[in-house]
Amino acid sequence: MTTAIENLASYLDSFTAFEKRAAGQDLPWLRKLRADAFARFCETGFPTTRDEDWRFTNVAAIARTRFQLPPMRTVRLATPEIAPLRLPGAGARLVFVNGQFAEELSQIPATVNASSLKQKIANSPEAVRGVLGHYLEIERDPFTALNTAFAEDGAYLHVRRGTVLEAPVHLIFISTESDQPAMSHPRNLLVFDDESEATIVEEYFSLGSGPVLSNGATELIAGENTTVSHYMVEREHGEAFNISTLRIQQGRSANVASHSLLLGGGLVRNNVHPVLAGEGGECLINGLFVGHGREHLDNYMYVEHASPHSSSRQFYNGILDGQAHGVFHGRIVVHKEAQKTDAKQTNRNLLLSDDAQIDTKPQLEIYADDVKCTHGATIGQIEENALFYLRSRGIDEAAARRLLLLAFASECVQRMRAGAARAHVEQLIHDYLLSLAQAHGPRSEGQEPVEGERSLEEVG
C-alpha cells in the first residue's frame, strides 16, 4: 500500500487548509461528516488492483500525482467560452469552474429551486442536514470518502411534490488548465419529492491540457412515484482523471433512468449505485462508453434490490479503438426481502482495433428465492458483411463505418426519453463518432479477417 498513500501529507495539508475556510464548518454534523470521511480515506488510501472492485483499473497515476485544491475563484471564464457547452432548451444552468460555482455563467429561473450546495449550506443548512452524506457510503469507496471530506460545492436541486420540470437542468463542471495538477470534488444533492418529474444533465468537461482530477459524487433521492432521468456526460481530454459516483435512492414506484456517456478522458471511472428501496421501483441503467488512444474507461455498476417487485435494466454499449481499455463491472445484489425482483444486465462491445481491450464482469448476489436475473455480454467487431453491404450501395468506407458505429450507439439513445436532453447527447455522440470514424482508416493489408461475435449469456 506504500504507493497508495505516498501523497498523504499533501492531502493532509489540503484538508487542513480546507477545514479552516470551508462553508459550514461551524455545523458540528458537517464538520464530523468531513472529518470522518478524511479519516476513512487516510485509513484505506487509494485502492489498488488487489481490491476486487478495482481489479481492472489501476489508479496509481492518480495516487502518484500531487493534486492540489485550486485557489478560490481565480479562474474566470467568459460567457462565449462556455457557449459550445450549452444545452439548447435547458430550463436551468449551473456552471462550476474547478469545482466552484460560477454564478455569472449560471442561469437559474425562479421556478427552479436550485442553487450551489455551498450557498445552501451557508444559508439554510437545515435543508441538507440528514440528507447530505446520508446515502453515499464512505466505507464503500476511497474516492467517495475523499469527495465527502472535501464536500462543499456542487449543485443543490430540490423538486417539490407534484412538480414537473419540463426542461432539463444542466450542470456543467469545467476543469481548466493550471500550473500544478488540480483536483476538484464536486458534490451534488438532488432531491425529488413524491410524484415529481425532472431531467438532470451532469456534464464534465476539461479545457486545455495537463493532469486534472475531477472526483464528483451525487446523491439522488427519488421519492415515491417520481420519474427522474439523470444523464452523466463525461467528455474530458486525454490527461484528465474523472471519477464519478452516482448514488440513487429510490422510493416506492419511483422510475429512475441513469444514462451515462463516456466520451473521452485519460482515466475514467463511472460508478452507478441505485438502491431500489421502495416496492415496485424501476431503474434503467443505460450507458455508452467510447474510447480511443490509451484511454481507460471503467463502468462500475452496483444495483441493489431491497424491496419486492422492483425491476432494473442495465444496458451498456462500449466502442473501443486504438489501445483503449474498457471495463464493465455489473454487480446485482438482491436482498432477502426483495422477492419478485426482475433484473437484467446486458453489455455489448465493439472492438475496432486489435489492441483495444474490454473486461466485462457480471456479478450476481441473490438472497431472495423468487427472482429473475439475467446477464449477458458480447464482444464483436464491425461486421465486414454490413460494411460491404453499405459500400456496395455507394457509401464510402469512412461514412459506412460511421453509420455502423452510430447504429451501435443508437441502441443506447433509443432508451432515452425524447426531449432536449436526448437531442443534446445525440448530437454529442454523433460528432464524437464522426471524428472517431475519420481517424480510423481502412484496415491495412494482412490483418486478420473478422471473427464472428463472441457471446455469453447466463440465466440465473
Binding site: E383, A386, R391, S392, R393, I395, D396, L403, L406, P449
Partner: protein, 258 residues
Amino acid sequence: MSLLEIKNLHVTVAGQEILKGIDLAINSGEVHSIMGPNGSGKSTLAQVLARRETYQVTRGEVLFDGKDLLAMKPEEAACEGIFMAFQYPVEIPGISNTYFLRSALNAIRKYHGQDEMDAMDFLPMFREKLKLLDMEEKLMNRSVNEGFSGGEKKRNEILQMAVLEPKLAILDETDSGLDIDALRIVAKGVTAMRSPERGMLVVTHYQRLLNYIVPDFVHVLVDGRIVRSGGAELALELEEKGYGWIENEARQSAPASV
C-alpha cells in the same frame, strides 16, 4: 463498346480457383442470365463484379463502361452504376431503411457532381417505387432488413435497385426461397426496370424466375467456366433435363487436369 466486358477472368478464394477463365459481354438493353449447379461459381462472379474484396482476381480483366472495374472499390463501382441484389441481404440494426437509401442515393449523386436530394424531393419518388414493389412505407422506418421475412428482404433489394437506377443490375439468386407471390412481385419490379439504357445479369439456380423475366441470353456455368450459351430456350432445356447432362459434357471436353 459493351457496357460490361469480362475477359478471361480467373478468381481464387482462399487459394482455390473458383472462376477459371470467364468471357462475357453485356450490352445496354440486354438481359443475360447465368445458370448453373451449386458451386459452379455463379455467386462468385456476381460478388467480384460488386467488388467484394475477399475474392482474388488472378488473371483477366473487366471493363465497365470502358473503365477498369477491377481497380474500383465497392463504393466506386456502385457510383459508376453497378448494383448487386444480395442473395442474403444483410440486417443492420439501428439504421432505418429510408435513411440508408437516401444516404446511398446522395453518395451516388455527389459522386456525379449533383446536388444532394432532400427529404422533400426524395419522398414522392420513394413512395412511387414502394408502390411498384407492394411495400408499406412504415416498413421503411424500421432498421435495414431487421425482422424482415425472406420475401421482404428480396423485395427490399429490388426497391433499392429501383431507387438507385444502376446501369448494370446484377441479381444474385434473388429468386431463391421465394414463394410464387413474392416471386411475381420481384419479377414485376425487375421487369419495370428493363430499359435500353440498362443491362441486367440474372444469376439463378432455377429456371422459374426466367418465366417472368425472359432473358435475351442464357449462359451455363459449370466448374468455373461458361460451357454453353444460348437464348431463352436454353433455360427451358435445363429445366427439363437438369444440369447432369451438361456437367457430363463439360467434364469430357474440359482440358485434363494436371
